[in-house]
């Protein structure tokens, strides 16, 4: 576990918890670490919401597919980010999404029961953990607000521009990269891929943006 402390320091769940206490706590929580190769499923839709996941290395995609094969990407996560916590904390029977490794991933898994139903009133670190989880969930709600802001736009062009402007803001620059290829961006924006490509081409010709693959620049 010691090798992961550096990353866990950046994890929202463990803020304000000293490193020496963190190791003890991970033991107490029964945290385990697993590895997933590229394209492997870290959590599968329909399986029990038993674990809270923390990405230690790599990146992963949170998505769902409806029964006509339309994939909808909810978000993309990187090292130190938490996933599955909402379903675990709400004690759902089954999770409604699939988490897939974009590249080889190291994942820490913590049983929800160890967080929700153990020693809640005894240990101070545990109290801090609950507090951190609460803050993390609050920011997750904001992430979904943003996604809804994007997909609530009525045209491909407006969805795309809303998304790109949010990314520019987040990366504090008019030049930035996005974590999606074209198909994935279309799946995030909930639009047709070819229509999205066409719209990017049109915006380029109008001098509104420049782009190459994952790189974008707003002009």
């Amino acid at each position: 576990m010691k090798q992961y402390l550096e990353i866990l320091r950046n994890c929202p769940l463990f803020q304000q918890i000293e490193e020496e206490n963190l190791l003890t706590m991970l033991g107490c929580l029964g945290a385990k670490v697993e590895f997933f190769d590229k394209k492997y499923t870290i959590m599968a839709e329909g399986t029990p919401a038993k674990y809270i996941g923390i990405l230690l290395s790599g990146s992963a995609q949170i998505a769902r597919s409806d029964y006509y094969g339309n994939r909808s990407i909810l978000s993309n996560i990187g090292p130190a980010e938490v996933f599955g916590e909402a379903f675990a904390c709400a004690e759902m029977g089954a999770i409604p999404v699939t988490v897939i490794a974009n590249e080889p991933c190291t994942v820490m898994l913590i049983d929800r029961d160890h967080i929700l139903h153990t020693c809640r009133n005894q240990c101070g670190f545990h109290q801090q953990l609950i507090f951190n989880l609460m803050k993390d969930l609050a920011t997750k709600v904001l992430v979904f607000h943003q996604k809804i802001e994007v997909v609530s736009k009525r045209s491909t062009r407006n969805k795309l521009m809303t998304y790109l402007m949010l990314q520019a803001k987040k990366q504090s620059s008019n030049r930035f990269t996005i974590p999606f290829d074209r198909q994935e961006l279309a799946d995030y924006l909930e639009v047709d891929r070819s229509g999205l490509s066409a719209e990017i081409g049109k915006l380029s010709r109008e001098g509104i943006l420049r782009s190459h693959r994952h790189h974008f620049e707003l002009l």
Copy 2:
């Protein structure tokens, strides 16, 4: 405050807290109660995310409008439901939504600082409050997942059917009422109102549903 205990008992924030302790706690939190007439703004977009709100009576709508006047309805809330907690807990500077009274409303407001930054490690009720807030936020994430599931569908028909099937499930019946009129439903589904009306008409002629105003029946 005593008159509101009955409702607060159903509020997710105060589960597992005895009534006698609840009154003390509300004092300690500096909870205040305000009244809003129909159509009045309970929280305005852009104002500081200073308060967590609890609806004591009436109903309200959580919505946002983009700068071309397209309104997007995020959800509809009723008595004992909590609102604004995600923005308050994430300590945002400004809230990105507007909360409007559908009818005369009684609202309890609690300053976020009293929840987040006071006596966090002393008082047991407070610990329970944080825990409840965490659970509440987890279910809020699920609410947004559902909304995204609905609006990610590519056609008006699929959005509508997905929404109606979720409502039928939630109300455990093929006959149910929805909290929206046609314009509001269109704003929730992020589609054109007249197109929505046309689609409802078509589904009726196809024998898939029956509807009258807020009442629907899936066949």
